[in-house]
């Protein structure tokens, strides 16, 4: 505060030290000053720090005029150090006072001090001695007095309005002159004598007697008491009260009411226009702006709460990362096409065959540069050192740059699709057990005759096979022991089918179907079968000349041969109805009479079709309904036997149907063909196959559904039997699930023929396959 107060006199441009004022006014009744400066010791203690750290004068200067600033600038240097100087000064004064000097010396000093009292109390008088003031001299020419101004030395600060101080000792501490009678020198080098200064008693007296003594201050440069004017006192008082130092400032000016108040009321609106619509609808631009922010928030560019964390995270990026997508939002630059690698002929020493002959060289040189296959001629150099500079270097670079600049480039993005994901999810075969996996028993036919057909007995204990030499064998399936064999001519056996109800089987050979009750069976079973098949002999029906004849085997071809049915043509297939009474025979070469349906209990045969379109290959009974499937070379016809009508014609899209099997539910059908395909029909779905599978490398010979397990197998000329797990769901919306589970290899391919037939065990997940290699193989799980 002391410095702040000390600055105040600068307004007037006089250098007065208010500290001295303090000294003087100690204990006096100067209200305002006393209030603020009541404890000078304390304030002195804080002066050293406060005076510099609290630049109040600068704040104050802001409100000053420019003139004042100029003066202030000049004075700053003095005042900055003044505070501390004063302190020292005071202390020294105290010391001086404390120090007991000799009374004589002190007396002489005092006398010296007060003998001369300069009349400098009035500052206006001081100005008269301004060195820049003109001197009045007699003109030599005119003789009149004239004003002669002193020469101005044009040096820095030569023009100083502050050079008014009579004391010209410069900026030196005044206490240097304490022991001297003068306090400095004036501009002419004469001593400025110390003004007279009374002792404490005089001070006291003056405070008592002189009513204005409280308003005096010591001018340090002159050491004289200066009477402060009323304006200065008022200014000091305002500063002490922390008021605006400007006396004219009125903080409580009356408000001028320009727009309100009586007589200024607005009675009418500014315009009579109705409010525009835009005032009532949300702003489009605001909406856009908000949406921009919303988008930014959504994209994560603005993170309301994540700012701090974003700053905390280290800001770096993978400089050499090849992952272009992650780094920036904009499209990465297209990579330049790679430069072709040099070839042998570009070597500095290519092999001889690359070097052109003279004719080739000539031809190359005569060619148009555009037409040349290469833009260089292979040349041979002994060492790399002899290779000259490449003359086309600049041109090539230039062309390359042109290419990069002009040629449009396309970025090829590789589809990053895992091929595994495109494969449908199928259960593992391990979960779909049981299915046949291994070759358990092999039934070896003598002579390696091709085994054409195979059939399981109804109880699954026996297997009957027929070969191409007209021999039919029965095998005990468990151990593979041949228990019966019979020869039915030398023609190939077309089919062997075991009756699903009684233990006997049918054999289709050329021109006949034979019925055999095998003798190895228990007598009870044989008796039942015998009764079943031969009772109709006792009630002969009316002979039909066209119909096949049923004759008892008077001279049995083999042990157990019971009866024969004569047929025209060469029957290739037999198909039992599930109840064991009816069976159908197919002789493809018998034209219109290809298909016959025979009834065992009545020894009756009938031909269901008057005319057949195409060659009938196969037939099959529906397992549950009185339906009948007839497969020609390319189509499968579905007949209703009761209604005697064609229900639908299935078009598998195969060239030549070889085999057919109906699912035990009767709702699905598989068709194998000689063109290596297998077609699965869902009879509910229409006439097109639900799925066509092609997995065999050769023609399919036989397909079969397992009666007891969700399995089917297909036998092919490639020597394999492939087993599929085919789940048929009761839910009509779910497609059948077909899973390949096993490829059974074991049959040898002989003369281009592989596996000729496959059949399933009626109860177990076993199947037996017969092949052209003269073997039948039982595959077990």
């Amino acid at each position: 505060m002391a410095t702040a107060v000390a600055r105040a006199p600068a307004v007037n441009g006089t250098k007065r030290k208010v500290d001295d004022l303090n000294e003087k006014s100690d204990g006096t009744a100067l209200g305002p000053i006393n209030l603020t400066l009541s404890d000078p010791e304390e304030s002195e203690g804080t002066d050293g720090s406060d005076g510099e750290e609290e630049p109040f004068p600068e704040l104050d200067l802001g409100s000053d005029t420019e003139e004042d600033e100029d003066e202030e600038d000049e004075d700053d240097s003095e005042y900055d150090v003044e505070g501390s100087e004063d302190d020292e000064d005071n202390e020294e004064d105290d010391e001086d006072e404390d120090e007991e000097q000799t009374p004589d010396s002190r007396l002489t000093r005092l006398i010296a001090k007060y003998t001369e009292k300069p009349d400098e109390s009035d500052p206006s008088e001081l100005r008269l001695e301004d060195p820049r003031a003109p001197k009045i001299v007699q003109s030599n020419i005119t003789g009149f007095p004239k004003k002669v101004y002193p020469e101005i030395d044009p040096v820095y600060d030569s023009d100083s309005s502050t050079e008014e101080d009579p004391n010209r000792i410069g900026n030196v501490p005044l206490h240097w002159y304490d022991d001297l009678p003068h306090i400095g020198y004036d501009i002419d080098g004469k001593r400025v004598m110390r003004p007279a200064k009374g002792d404490e008693l005089d001070k006291f007296l003056s405070t008592v007697e002189d009513p204005t003594s409280w308003s005096t201050a010591v001018d340090k440069s002159t050491g004289a008491q200066v009477q402060l004017s009323a304006e200065e006192l008022e200014l000091i008082g305002r500063l002490a009260r922390a008021e605006n130092p400007d006396g004219d400032y009125d903080p409580y000016e009356p408000m001028v009411e320009w727009f309100t108040g009586p007589g200024k009321e607005m009675t009418m609106p500014l315009t009579s226009r109705p409010e525009p619509k835009s005032r009532f609808i949300p702003s489009k631009w605001e909406h856009k702006k908000v949406m921009k922010i919303v988008r930014a928030i959504r994209q994560g560019r603005i993170t309301p709460h994540g700012k701090m964390t974003a700053q905390q995270q280290p800001q770096f990026y993978a400089l050499w990362s090849t992952n272009e997508e992650s780094a920036t939002s904009h499209r990465p630059p297209l990579p330049a096409p790679k430069v072709r690698l040099p070839t042998h002929s570009e070597s500095y020493n290519p092999p001889k065959e690359y070097l052109p002959t003279d004719e080739e060289k000539k031809e190359w040189e005569e060619m148009d540069p555009e037409d040349r296959p290469e833009n260089y001629l292979p040349r041979s150099h002994d060492t790399l050192r002899h290779v000259p500079a490449y003359e086309d270097f600049v041109k090539e670079r230039f062309d390359r740059q042109l290419d990069l600049y002009l040629a449009p480039r396309v970025r090829r993005v590789k589809l990053n699709i895992d091929p595994e994901s495109l494969v449908p999810k199928l259960p593992s075969p391990k979960e779909l057990r049981p299915f046949p996996t291994a070759q358990n028993v092999v039934f070896e036919h003598e002579g390696k005759a091709r085994v054409r057909c195979v059939s399981w007995s109804m109880d699954g204990e026996w297997v009957a096979t027929g070969d191409e030499r007209g021999t039919v064998r029965c095998w005990e399936a468990e151990v593979g022991k041949c228990v019966w064999q019979g020869s039915f001519g030398s023609e190939p056996v077309g089919a062997v089918e075991w009756c699903p109800k009684y233990n006997f089987f049918l054999i289709a050979v050329s021109g006949a179907v034979h019925l055999v009750i095998p003798p190895f069976l228990p007598p009870a079973q044989r008796a039942a079968g015998h009764t079943y098949t031969t009772t109709a002999f006792s009630t002969p029906s009316a002979p039909d000349p066209d119909a096949p004849k049923w004759t008892s085997a008077k001279t049995p071809l083999a042990d157990g041969h019971v009866l024969s049915i004569s047929l025209t043509g060469n029957p290739k297939q037999l198909a039992w109805h599930g109840k064991g009474d009816y069976f159908a025979s197919v002789a493809p070469d018998a034209a219109a009479k290809a298909v016959w349906i025979h009834q065992i209990t009545k020894h009756h045969s009938q031909s269901p079709f008057r005319k057949v379109k195409g060659t009938v290959q196969l037939v099959s009974f529906h397992p549950k309904q009185p339906h009948f499937f007839v497969a020609t070379q390319k189509y499968v016809r579905h007949y209703d036997l009761v209604g005697q009508k064609l229900l639908r014609t299935l078009t598998p899209g195969l060239r030549w149907i070889s085999s057919l099997s109906v699912h035990p539910s009767g709702e699905h059908l598989i068709v194998g063909s000689y063109d290596k395909k297998l077609a699965w029909f869902d009879l509910e779905m229409g006439i097109r196959p639900f799925r066509v599978l092609r997995y065999h490398s050769r023609a399919l010979r036989s397909v079969a559904f397992s009666p007891a397990h969700p399995l089917f197998a297909s036998a092919s000329d490639d020597g394999t039997v492939q087993v599929f797990h085919a789940t048929v769901f009761a839910d009509l919306m779910t497609d059948p699930r077909i899973v390949p589970v096993k490829v059974l290899r074991g049959h040898a391919v002989t003369d281009g023929l592989g596996v000729l037939g496959v059949r399933w065990h009626p109860r177990l997940s076993w199947c037996v396959s017969v092949g052209a290699d003269g073997r039948a193989v039982l595959w077990c799980n």
Partner: protein, 480 residues
Amino acid sequence: MSLPPPSVPLLLSTRSPYALPPTRYLIPTSFTRFQLSQLINTSLSLSPPVPFDFLVRGSLLRGSLQSWMTAHGQGGEETLEVEYVQSVLPPRREASIPQEDWVSAVSLSLPDHILSGAYDNTVRIYTEGQELLHTLSSHSGPITAVTAFPTPAQYAIGEGNIILSSSQDRTVHMHHLPSPSLLPTSASAADAGPRLLTTLHTSPAQVSSVAPSPSGQHIVTATWDGLLGLFTSTLPTSHELPADDEPDISRKKRRKLAPTSSAEETEVFRKAPTLLLRGHTSKVSRAIWDPDGLSIFSAGWDYTVRQWDAQTGQQGGVKTTPDRVHLTIGRMAGPAPLLATGTSDRMVCMFDLRSSSSSTVQLTLPHASPVQSLVPHPTASHLLTTATLQGVLQIWDLRAPRESLVRVMREGGKCLCVDWRVRGAGLPSQAGEGGEEGVWVAGGEDRQVQVWRTVTGGGARVERVGKQVVDKVNEEDAET
């Protein structure tokens, strides 16, 4: 300097009479079975040497100790407890008895004799010297099983043995074979020969097996239509059930085939079962008796193994193994009711009937083809022999279930039946006393009954069968 070879501490113990002092031995890990066997022989100074096998933690030592430790992740610090057992030399093929047709059944249940049944409907009885004694041709279908037991005293037809044969002609024939010692030397062939006592009729289906109870009081048969017939072994005095009505053809044929026998024989009564055990839903492969005579075990094609109470005919327990067709069954020797079945999916499955869960297979022995026949060792509870359709005969030790002890490949194709016998097996008190031989017979597609001798080394009793054939012979040469 060279390091000493790495070694492992062994604690050798045995249950055989060749015991070593129970000390810890520090054995180099490079030692194999042969060297360990030599070690025991030299320390006991056995002469002639006895080959031993070594069981380390329940598995047979096949290679060196080091390889065993590597395979089991064992360091050389721990003490290995090793049990050594007297190993048995590989069987020596003794003879082949030719037959007319495939051999479907062999049995050694008649002491000092070999019984065989074949697909030519005959049962043949041989002495152990492969001399044909008798031919029983009363059956009209292939024989499925043949067995024998001593004639019960109540028959009052003299001492001898009863021979039971089951056949696909749905009957079991019971013949009496008099003891040779009782026969007068001048007796005619007809008197000396076996006499058909009775025929057992279970059901109209083929009979797959027949087995007498240990006491000889009961007989159990198994049929292809899922029935078990329980018969008492008393002789019927009249026809207990009517004759089958057969079609003309077969009757004619039979009359043609065997006109003399039917005329000559006194009338043979048909015998009906006292109890029919119903439970199997498909063909029963085989039914066997528990040694205590109280239970019957059966296995079938309906994937089940069943236990029956022989007194009441009640079904005791069922073990179901999905999709596994059981082709044969055997009960392991010993007190534990451990059953072994041969299956069509090329396994031997072990069942413990005491375990509560219904389908627990305790152990499986992998084979290469269906196990058609399986016979446990009469006394040793951990040995069994199997015959597979590939013609491989094997002897398994349950303690080393990964690989068989002995593997013999028959040349002639499928092997359908096997049986083995150890002399004195019926007398457990003599166990451990040596000097006996084992017999091992098998028959099959090659129309031969092949006989092997399990030769013992050093006069010790045949107890265990050792290692693979070839290396065993070599080592034996080296030891002797």
